[in-house]
Amino acid sequence: MSGYLVALQAIVLREVLRFVAQRGRFIAALVRPLVWLLVFAAGFRSALGLSIIPPYSTYVTYEVYIVPGLCGMVQLFNGMQSSLSLVYDREMGSMRLLLTSPLPRWWLLFSKLIAGTAVSILQVYAFLAIAAAFGIVMPFSGYILVLPVLLLTGLMMGALGLALSSTIRQLENFAGVMNFVIFPAFFLSSALYPLWKMAESSTLLYRICAVNPFTNAVEAIRFALYGQANLPALAWTLLALGVFLGLALVGYDPARGLSRRRASGG
């Protein structure tokens, strides 16, 4: 096996082992979407009427509607959390170890992203399994077809986190990230309500929602769960991945970015 693959495998394995060992983090990652699914959606289903829109071929309950959005939320939180652990210096040591490996830096960052994405995919499947246990079941083929899409959307949100961790200094605490990244991304998307509902209220908001990469990630997941490929959403997600990855690579360039600021001291 080449050195590249050896490193990739080790980085992914380490991240997955760490995640499994940190039970608190696993439970938190599952409780969050389950609260939305089992509490919020139960209360909200009567307030919101859904018409038949693709990919659904029949009326669906609100719980069924928000499952893809919650899958996206799981990945969004995971992406932000891994970036915050970097900003907080908790992971800074292991990042230094990573960045001083003689392998190319882009490969190391990409491996780190793959590792975070693998963890987020584990979380999504655990969430889907619990949702299924509560009777919210997708077509069987959907569970398989969604995997490559989750890989793409997970990478996109992980790259966003990596870019943020390297470029934005102000996001020093989780409240900041909640307010300025997670909430806007989540609420200005199709995760909780179909976009045509948003269009009825405000055209401007609708337009923002439509270009939100998170909307496109959620829609790509939604269509994949029903065995369909939403090509525009997939393309938009891929484009966002490219942009965020580019920003992350610039941010981790040794001539600027995070490591440079952190180098102060003794």
Partner: protein
């Protein structure tokens, strides 16, 4: 081939208009132990970040075992072992697992990695602790694990940034002893940042860094003359004020 294990030429570095390192130039012969001595804020950690390419600077030149860090960063990184000031072990993993993760980051796996891990553990007298979780090690053994890890890929140059901070005197002495032995027996070039003078031996190379400038570079005994290094150091740094 250069005779230098480490060669720094005219390195300057700063954050904005604030210079942290000013025209730092010195070299360390292959196989010698060089102590980089300076008070807090002297620029030691910034210098380490430059040497390990966590940051770069457009001015100056760094050669690691004769390889230009700017021109061939990956080849130069492959020649160096690093022990950061901040502990970088995975506390939930065993000593051996920590080492094999690092080996994988350097592209080593399988039997070759195992062989090197055994050798490094043996070298640092850690064989009996291979299966212990890093969390259950004391500070001295954690540091030794990090040094063992830094040696896995047979580096030619070893950087240690204040490796004895927070350790008790016995562990400090043991680690200082170990690294001196690596120099003498394996011909490793060592750059050891510290602000504790008792870690430096009279025959060691000594670079005194203060406010980003090299104030002196010679063997410790020659810099000290007939006085103690502390005295000389205090005089130098107060003269610079």
């Amino acid at each position: 081939m250069s005779l230098h294990g480490l060669n720094l030429q005219h390195l300057s570095f700063g954050y904005g208009a604030d210079p942290v390192l000013k025209d730092v130039t010195f070299s360390v012969e292959r196989g010698s132990f060089c102590a980089l001595f300076g008070p807090n804020g002297a620029g030691k950690t910034s210098l380490f970040s430059l040497l390990t390419r966590l940051v770069t600077t457009p001015t100056g030149r760094i050669e690691i075992a004769g390889i230009d860090l700017q021109k061939s960063p990956r080849a130069a990184l492959a020649k160096m072992g690093i022990v950061f000031q901040q502990m970088t072990l995975d506390l939930d993993l065993s000593v051996r697992r920590n080492l094999s993760y690092y080996a994988a980051l350097r592209g080593l796996s399988g039997r070759e990695a195992e062989r090197r891990i055994d050798a490094a553990l043996d070298r640092l007298d850690l064989m009996d602790r291979a299966k212990v979780r890093a969390r259950d090690l004391n500070g001295g053994h954690r540091r030794r694990t990090e040094i063992a890890r830094a040696l896995l890929h047979d580096p030619e140059v070893l950087f240690l940034d204040e490796p004895t901070v927070g350790l008790d005197p016995a562990s400090r002495a043991a680690i200082t002893e170990h690294v001196h032995a690596l120099c003498a027996e394996d011909g490793l070039t060592v750059l050891w940042a510290t602000h504790l003078m008792d870690e430096v031996r009279p025959e060691d190379d000594l670079v005194i860094l203060d406010r980003g400038e090299v104030l002196a570079h010679d063997t410790a005994s020659r810099i000290a003359g007939d006085r103690s290094i502390e005295q000389v150091f205090l005089e130098m740094t107060s003269a610079a004020t």
